[in-house]
């Protein structure tokens, strides 16, 4: 028992842990300031509560949004570059089949999803993390199209023009926030995963 307790397994590499928290911080700023920007001219029939937003008014929120954008993009480049070139993505996020994702999601809903080895992501996690990465890529591209709809009019045209890019930006945000909330709920349900994204290690449970 003593010997087993001393066994630690490496779960998250340092690059992943650092970029995860920088990303979380950047996303918090981007979402909170983005909601304030949305409130200046809502796309739909609702506004975000001002208490949940950042910036105080439209111009302040735009300053936050365009400042944190650098943090988000540079950090994202480091993470995606590391993920591709170190083989981290290939090892951790693949293989991924729709059938496995579906069965793991159903298992998660019934509270029966196994996550014994914290170093191995189950299919639901793989799909969620991949979806967040894709959402962020779409958010950056649609955000660029909204920011510079004349300079980047070809990019905007891919999304149906400026108004289309606004819709893409909104729905990518909504999906990303939803997945992030599910992610946080899962961490609360399986709290032993939380220290691993800080220390990088987990006790082997066998």
């Amino acid at each position: 028992m003593e010997a087993a307790q001393a066994q630690w397994v490496k779960v998250h590499p340092l690059v992943v842990r650092v970029t995860h928290w920088i990303n979380a911080f950047a996303i918090l700023i981007m979402v909170a300031s983005g909601w304030r920007i949305y409130n200046a001219s809502p796309l739909f029939g609702f506004r975000f509560p001002n208490d949940l937003t950042l910036g105080g008014w439209l111009a302040g929120a735009l300053q936050w949004h365009f400042a944190a954008l650098w943090l988000l993009v540079l950090n994202g480049i480091v993470y995606v570059g590391y993920g591709i070139f170190s083989g981290h993505f290939r090892r951790k996020l693949f293989p991924l089949t729709p059938r496995a994702v579906l069965s793991d999601m159903l298992a998660a809903l019934r509270g029966r999803l196994a996550h014994d080895d914290l170093a191995v992501y189950n299919a639901a996690q793989r799909a969620a993390y991949l979806a967040i990465i894709l959402c962020l890529a779409v958010l950056v591209l649609s955000g660029l199209a909204i920011w510079k709809p004349v300079q980047l009019q070809e990019l905007a045209a891919l999304m149906g023009g400026y108004e289309g890019a606004r819709l893409v930006h909104f729905f990518a945000m909504a999906l990303m926030v939803f997945i992030a909330l599910v992610h946080i709920v899962m961490v609360i349900l399986v709290p032993r995963t939380f220290p691993t994204i800080i220390t990088g290690r987990a006790r082997r449970t066998s």
Binding site: A32, R36, S41, F66
Partner: protein, 147 residues
Amino acid sequence: MKKRTMDASLAEHSPKLIRSIERRLFLRQGLSLGALALLSGCALTDDEGVQGLLLGMSRWNDRAQGWLFNPNKLAPEYPESAITKPFPFNAYYGEDEVRLVDGASYKLELSGLIRDKKPWTLPELYALPQTSQITRHICVEGWSAIG
């Protein structure tokens, strides 16, 4: 299963585990402090240090845009049929509060880094070469309209 391992290790008072729990608590408190600071986003933005940082980033963005983008690229033009009707009215006063300007006494005053600061009258402005184009007007608020 998970619960039992947790309780068992707690009962053994492993100093390492306790340290990691303390660290976790510290982090949680840190996170909620951060969240609190963000909740009062207005006060945070008013802070002088934060204001300086945001202004600095804003200036940096202006420079980055200067390097990245082509100043000669023009906005796409639209046919007359694409014009948004009615075109949104947007001002700090209501549409019924629009003030009438006396065209005869109207003068456009100029200032800034220019040599000739002589004000322009309406007839002088009309005498200038004219061109028109139909483009999408994109407001900083987010809405857009063609006109």
